[in-house]
């Protein structure tokens, strides 16, 4: 093994990969949310945002490939960590009790993560890998969210995403070694705010669309 | 037998330099041919193991705990002395030497103590380089504080955990040598006997505490760094596994035991609060800088402290010692606390405590200042007692803390058995009859880092090429004896637990061979110890077997040795018909109840030779010659 695989293969290395990919997804979420907000500008605004995005051509493809690779890294590393961490304690405690360190986010990362993976696959099947020749993205979205079950599923997914991000964001900084008495409280607050923005920002969209549709 | 301390000639200040030149050397190529056993991994044993390995020797290191990092040196709080004179307050090697000799009530060897003061500075240099996070001034240089009533600030410290940090430094150095292949660590082993081959210490028998197996280990020399014997009192500030077994078994094999009656009682410990109590906790004596010690004037006064008006309180230390007040040395403070309790003025449920009151200090300086100085100690006190010392005065009582006595060693730290070296608290040490604060860490590390590594070569150089194997008949014989003793313990099948015996022994020793002794009391204690020992071998209950982790059996072996050793302490206390430092015989005191030495008849080290379990040990005297200091009477008025 060379130094790079040794480094990335170590426990901290794996966490670094989780942190870097996770942070990128946070960035992606922010951009995605900003784009989606155009839906409040009405049908045309939203469609034109989609068109502008697709007009970027190869850039978009490149971004998609990067996202896919990052997703693969994030998921596979995450699953490896999940398995290794389970194996590190073969005999469990009779009673499990937290001393107050754990949060809902930190305690459920693997489970929220797996749920989000399923969600992302379904989400892509719903809106990405569909034939869009005879329709617009706006029509697709409003058709989808006229189904109450899907609205509920999306809202739940967004709450789960918020929980995942609430731990993931500050945790990524901690893993990358960014800890400082002056800035860490700010990063922790940012994580919470970002999680709420993700939850409400994305979560309200299906509701809004189902109302106007 | 004449005890030859092998103190080199020449002026005091040049003895060590000269001696180092005169010592035989072992060449680097030959060092790797020697194996040295080091028993114990405290400050002395850990530093010795690491340094010997650095020099190229093969070291086998043994500890009773699961890791060398847990030896009881770790609990030392206050600090470590050195004659650096960084604060520019007039300190020097000579002053540190003189303070230590005087503090020890002139019962230590001049040359050893001077050497200790000399190497003290090297210790600070080395430990700093090892990464010990000593306290620092804002300018980045090392901070010092005054400690234990010293008139200069020469104590280096790492918060209240100096012992821990220094020990972890020695432990880290050991771990480095484990990786280098020069040290093999044997944790969870208890040394049960010493093996002599042709009169030379060539190995030990250990019990693997996990499997119960007896193991033979051979080497070219054996170093004992097994600490003190304060647990003979059952309740002490020592760790639970601290014991006398290693040094006592060496004594039975021919090493002389020196000054066993010199024990130190620390005045500021948390009092005993019940019969189930297993151990005492010490609080730094720095508390006496601001706390005022008092008891009610009326014996048997059971009112809570805040209801006792000022005029009905007796601030006895301030009354008796107007100039030193609450800051009198450890032995004086301890004896006075006992005297007050003996008069029925003790406080608390048991009546075995005195108040240490911070009310005036808090009123004067404010709670914040007191909190900054003693916050961690107050928190510790509150954790253990459930009382808030900011509101109600602390209750304190003296507890056994350190033992100055130990195996007799010469200037080279070698005992009366060739090839058996003894370092740290385990030897009879450089502290004389009383140890000063922050000197124990200094001595342990001096022995291990800077003295033994030189002197052991002088011994080894003579035996190049000689090989010892564990197949030698001596190993077989000693192992058999150890096995028989274990079998005997397991076979008693009595009705009293080992701890029960230990507790009773502790009470006898505390009452009659504690901080204040009388000849009648000592005689009585001797009879009681003999009776208790006889009962032990008939009525002790040791469950389980010897092929397993058996903590009851471990304790049984240690208590059996304490039961014999206690008598040796009493014999030594009876033989020393004077008072000095930690040994206070009520028949020998000044008008002010201070220890009255008899320099004419007792200015010597009393070294005892074993003659059989119920036999009188033989006394050998090493006269103490003072060429450089004048013997004076301590006074703290």
């Amino acid at each position: 093994m060379n130094w790079l695989t040794k480094t990335l293969g170590s426990s901290i290395g794996k966490k670094l990969m989780m942190a870097v990919t996770g942070l990128s997804f946070c960035g992606f979420l922010a951009v995605h949310l900003a784009g989606n907000l155009t839906i409040y500008g009405g049908k045309d605004a939203f469609n034109s945002y989609a068109e502008h995005l697709h007009s970027l051509g190869p850039l978009i493809t490149a971004a998609e490939i990067v996202l896919l690779v990052f997703a693969l890294v994030h998921v596979l590393t995450g699953l490896t960590l999940f398995y290794q961490n389970l194996a590190a304690r073969p005999v469990r405690y009779r009673i499990n009790r937290s001393a107050g360190g754990r949060t809902i986010g930190s305690g459920t990362m693997p489970y929220t993560g797996i749920f989000l993976l399923i969600f992302v696959v379904l989400h892509l099947m719903n809106f990405h890998f569909v034939d869009k020749t005879d329709t617009t993205i706006y029509n697709l979205v409003s058709a989808a969210f006229s189904r109450p079950l899907l609205v509920v599923f999306y809202i739940v997914a967004m709450v789960v995403a918020a929980i995942h991000v609430s731990h993931g964001l500050w945790s990524a900084f901690q893993t990358m070694g960014a800890s400082h008495p002056k800035y860490t409280p700010f990063i922790k607050a940012l994580s919470t705010v970002f999680a709420i923005l993700v939850g409400i920002g994305f979560g309200f969209l299906p509701i809004y669309i189902s109302i106007i549709a | 037998m004449v005890l030859d301390a092998k103190v080199p000639g020449g002026p005091l200040a040049q003895k060590w330099d000269r001696h180092r030149f005169e010592l035989k050397l072992v060449s680097p190529a030959n060092k790797r041919k020697f194996t040295i056993i080091v028993v114990g991994t405290g400050l002395a044993g850990g530093s010795a193991a690491a340094t010997l390995a650095e020099l190229g020797y093969n070291v086998k290191s043994f500890c009773i705990q699961d890791s060398p990092r847990r030896a009881h040196s770790i609990a030392a709080q206050g600090g470590i002395n050195a004659a650096k004179n960084y604060p520019n307050d007039g300190d020097s090697i000579w002053r540190l030497f003189y303070d230590t000799i005087k503090g020890g009530d002139f019962r230590a060897r001049e040359a050893n103590v001077y050497r200790l003061a000399q190497v003290s500075n090297l210790i600070i240099d080395h430990c700093t380089a090892q990464g010990i996070p000593f306290a620092r001034e804002y300018g980045g240089l090392l901070a010092n504080r005054s400690f234990g009533g010293a008139q200069v600030s020469r104590t280096f410290y790492a918060r209240g955990q100096t012992g821990q940090q220094l020990l972890l430094g020695a432990y880290s150095a050991m771990m480095r040598q484990v990786t280098a292949g020069k040290i093999r660590v044997f944790p969870r082993r208890e040394m049960l006997d010493l093996v002599l081959v042709n009169g030379h210490a060539k190995g030990i028998i250990t019990r693997n505490l996990i499997t119960g197996e007896l193991e033979r280990h051979a080497a070219d020399a054996v170093v004992l760094a097994t600490g003190g014997y304060a647990n003979v009192y059952f309740l002490s500030t020592n760790a639970m596994s601290s014991n006398v077994t290693a040094t006592y078994r060496a004594y039975k094999r021919g090493a002389f035991f020196a000054n066993p009656c010199f024990t130190q009682i620390h005045p500021t410990c948390i009092p005993v609060h019940g019969t189930y109590q297993s151990k005492l906790t010490l609080m730094s004596e720095s508390l006496r800088n601001d706390g005022r010690v008092w008891v009610p004037k009326k014996p048997g006064d059971k009112r809570p402290p805040n209801e006792i008006p000022e005029e009905e309180r007796d601030y006895y230390l301030e009354r008796k010692y107007p100039s030193f007040g609450n800051l009198v040395p450890r032995d004086v403070a301890s004896r006075n606390a006992k005297a007050q309790c003996d008069q029925g003025k003790g406080v608390g449920e048991t009546g075995l405590a005195v108040y240490l009151d911070f009310a005036d200090a808090i009123k004067r300086d404010g709670r914040e200042v007191i909190e900054r100085k003693y916050g961690n100690l107050f928190a510790m006190y509150q954790k253990i007692t459930g009382e808030d010392p900011y509101q109600t005065p602390m209750k304190i009582y003296p507890a056994v803390h350190y033992t100055m006595g130990g195996l007799w060693v010469d200037y080279n730290l070698m005992s009366t058995i060739d090839g058996l070296f003894v370092i740290g608290e385990a030897n009879f040490s450089d502290h004389g009859a009383n140890r000063l604060g922050a000197s124990a860490l200094m001595q342990g590390l001096a022995d291990g880092y800077f003295i033994l590594p030189y002197t052991i070569g002088d011994y080894l150089a003579g035996y190049l090429g000689e090989k010892v194997s564990t197949d030698h008949s001596s190993f077989k014989e000693v192992e058999k004896e150890v096995r028989e003793k274990t079998d005997r313990l397991l076979a008693i099948g009595g009705k009293r637990t080992v701890d029960d015996f230990h507790r009773q022994l502790g009470l006898i020793m505390w009452d009659y061979c504690g901080m204040s002794r009388t000849n009648e009391g000592l005689e009585k204690a001797r009879r009681m110890v003999r009776e208790l020992r006889a009962e032990f071998w008939e009525n002790a209950l040791v469950p389980g077997n010897d092929r397993d982790l058996n903590q009851s059996l471990e304790r049984a072996g240690r208590v059996a040795d304490f039961l014999e050793f206690a008598e040796l302490m009493i014999v030594d206390a009876l033989a020393r018909q004077e008072s000095c430092g930690g040994h206070f015989n009520e028949a020998y005191q000044t008008e002010d109840n201070e220890a009255l030495r008899d320099d004419e008849n007792f200015c010597h080290v009393a070294a005892w030779q074993y003659k059989g379990v119920d036999q009188e040990p033989e006394l050998h005297k090493e006269p103490l010659v003072f060429e450089n200091v004048k013997l004076t009477q301590r006074s703290y008025k």
């Binding site: 966490k15 304690r89 009779r94 001393a99 | 000593f134 240089l141 609060h273 982790l549």
Partner: protein, 254 residues
């Protein structure tokens, strides 16, 4: 004045590392609330011995919270429910009459149970052997005041150096990770100028050793920090991560 309570204990009993182990129930009667937790176990053991049963094996030594030898998980909490308190310093006044306490050893693949509550924590020593030291031979050091160290740095180093090596961080971590232990040691030495020459080598080697020994991975749940009897902060883990990245990506150490 002394209050006493009665407790029901469910204690993990395991004969040897290979034995499966099980819980056994004991009744602790008339326990003085002034006792420490270990003294309560002493009392149980005295009774067991007199009854001809095998006493509970448990590790302990200094009984003043500094040697790091003691430790058991009490109702899911390493060293029991009190903050910054080792088991030996935990007093029975923190429990109520009639409480039921489950007492078990640290549980981690890296720490084998030796017997009952006694564990093998030598893996922590092995991590130390990989680099938890400054390579300096006795006698070679310059004067202690040659290199100034800012007081604040020395304090930060001391914060980390306080670790008593009890392993409660591993026990508390949902992943049985030893990152707080390693973080504390690496931080202590990396902060001080004396420790810099070896910093890269130390960080890489200690982490590799930790990984080899079967500890879990840190997932920043901060349970370790919450349970550490010495209150060691996870800032030290972040510093360890920094040291590791610096060493891995920018030093020549392989």
């Amino acid at each position: 004045m002394t209050k006493t309570i009665n407790l029901t204990l469910k204690v993990w009993r395991q004969k040897s590392p290979k034995d499966k182990g099980h819980f056994e129930t004991y009744h602790a009667r008339n326990i003085s609330t002034d006792m420490s937790f270990l003294e309560m176990l002493d009392v149980i053991n005295e009774q067991l011995t007199l009854d001809g049963r095998e006493p509970i094996a448990f590790d302990h030594d200094c009984r003043e919270g500094i040697c790091g030898m003691c430790g058991a998980v009490v109702n899911g909490r390493p060293h029991g429910p009190e903050k910054e308190t080792t088991l030996c310093q935990l007093h029975m006044r923190h429990f109520k009459d009639g409480d039921v306490l489950a007492i078990e050893p640290w549980r981690a693949r890296a720490f084998k149970v030796v017997k009952d509550l006694v564990m093998d924590r030598t893996p922590l020593d092995e991590i130390m052997q990989a680099g938890g030291y400054i390579s300096v031979n006795a006698g070679s050091a310059p004067d202690a005041n040659t290199i100034p160290v800012p007081a604040e740095t020395a304090e930060l180093a001391m914060d980390a150096a306080q670790c008593i090596g009890c392993g409660a961080c591993v026990a508390a971590c949902p992943n049985a990770s030893a990152m707080l232990f390693v973080g504390a040691k690496v931080s202590h030495l990396a902060l001080l100028p004396q420790g810099r020459p070896e910093a890269a080598r130390r960080a890489i080697r200690m982490i590799r050793e930790m990984d080899n020994l079967g500890f879990g991975n840190c997932s920043n749940e901060t349970e370790c920090e919450a349970e550490c009897p010495k209150g060691i902060s996870i800032t030290n883990i972040a510093r360890l991560n920094r040291e590791f990245f610096k060493a891995s990506f920018f030093a020549s150490e392989k």
